[in-house]
C-alpha cells in the first residue's frame, strides 16, 4: 500500500462515481475516461507496463471516444431523466450494490490475501509476452482476431441505415 497506489485508487473510484452519478451524458463520458486512465496507471503501478499502455490505448483512446460519438449521435448530450423508482434516489439499486460490496469486502478481509508476502515486481518484458502469444497461445490469438473482424462487420451492419422500401 504505497502513496501512488492510494492516490490512483482515489482518482479511479472518483472518476467511476462521477461517471455513474453526473446528469449530463458528455460529462459522464469524460469522467469515464478519467476512470479508465486511472485503471491504466494502476496497472503501470502494479508492474504490468504493456497492459497499462494497452488499456490507455483501447479504453481511453477508443472506447471513451466511441461512447462520446454515440452520445452525440443519439440526443446530443441531453441530460438523463431521473433514475428509476418512485423516489428521486434509486434506493434499491444502491442498496443491492452496497450489499454486494459489503459481502466482497468481508470475504477479502477474511481471506488469505492478508497473509500474502510482499513479493518484488515480476520481471516480464515484451519479448516474453510476444513469445507466449506466438507460442502456446497462438490459437486463442487467431480466434480473437477472427472475432474482432466479425464484430466490426456486424457492428457496421447493425448500425447501417436501412434502405427505404
Amino acid at each position: 500500500m504505497s502513496a501512488p497506489f492510494l492516490i490512483l485508487a482515489v482518482v479511479t473510484l472518483g472518476g467511476a462515481c462521477a461517471a455513474m452519478m453526473l446528469r449530463g451524458l458528455v460529462h459522464c463520458a469524460l469522467a469515464l475516461a478519467v476512470a479508465f486512465a486511472g485503471i491504466g496507471t494502476l496497472y503501470l503501478c502494479l508492474g504490468a507496463q504493456f497492459i497499462g499502455l494497452a488499456q490507455l490505448l483501447v479504453y481511453v483512446g477508443a472506447i471513451a471516444v466511441l461512447i462520446v460519438f454515440v452520445i452525440l449521435l443519439t440526443r446530443g448530450g441531453d441530460t438523463d431523466s431521473p433514475p428509476l423508482g418512485p423516489t428521486a434516489l434509486p434506493v434499491t439499486g444502491i442498496a443491492v450494490a452496497t450489499a454486494i460490496f459489503a459481502i466482497l469486502a468481508w470475504a477479502i478481509l477474511h481471506s488469505f490475501a492478508g497473509h500474502v508476502p510482499g513479493l518484488p515486481v515480476p520481471r516480464t518484458n515484451i519479448r516474453q509476452l510476444g513469445l507466449a502469444f506466438m507460442g502456446s497461445y497462438i490459437l486463442p490469438l487467431e480466434v480473437i482476431g477472427l472475432m474482432l473482424t466479425a464484430t466490426l462487420i456486424g457492428a457496421v451492419i447493425v448500425a447501417m441505415k436501412e434502405k427505404q422500401p
Binding site: 450494490a97 497461445y137 456486424g154
Partner: protein, 103 residues
C-alpha cells in the same frame, strides 16, 4: 493491509459502482458504461493476482487481461451499434420509455 488486499478492495468497490450504475441509470449508454466498469474491475483482479501470486514461467495474468480487453472492445462496439439501431427505431435511448415501464 497488504497490497493484494488493497487491490482487491479497489476492484470490488469499482464493481459495486458499476453495478449501482447499471441498475439505476435510465439511459442505455450509461448502463453499458456500468458494465464496462465491472469488466475493468475483473481485469484489475487478474493483474493483482498476477502481481502478488506465485511466479510461473509465462505471464499468464497479463495474457488473460489482453484477451479480456479484446473481448471488451468487441462488446462495446456491438453494444453501441445496437443502441444506435434501437435509437433509429424508437427515437429514444431511455430504458423506461423503451420498455413501457414507469416514466
Amino acid at each position: 493491509m497488504t497490497g493484494l488486499t488493497g487491490c482487491l478492495l479497489v476492484s470490488s468497490m469499482l464493481f459495486a459502482i458499476g453495478l449501482a450504475g447499471a441498475l439505476t441509470r435510465r439511459n442505455t449508454i450509461l448502463v453499458l458504461v456500468g458494465i464496462e466498469l465491472m469488466l475493468n474491475a475483473a481485469n484489475l483482479n487478474f493483474i493483482a493476482f498476477w502481481r502478488y501470486g506465485p511466479r510461473s514461467g509465462e505471464p499468464t495474468g497479463m495474457i488473460f487481461v489482453l484477451f479480456s480487453i479484446g473481448v471488451a472492445a468487441a462488446e462495446a462496439a456491438v453494444g453501441l451499434a445496437l443502441i444506435l439501431a434501437v435509437y433509429r427505431h424508437a427515437k429514444t435511448t431511455d430504458l423506461s420509455q423503451l420498455t413501457g415501464g414507469p416514466q
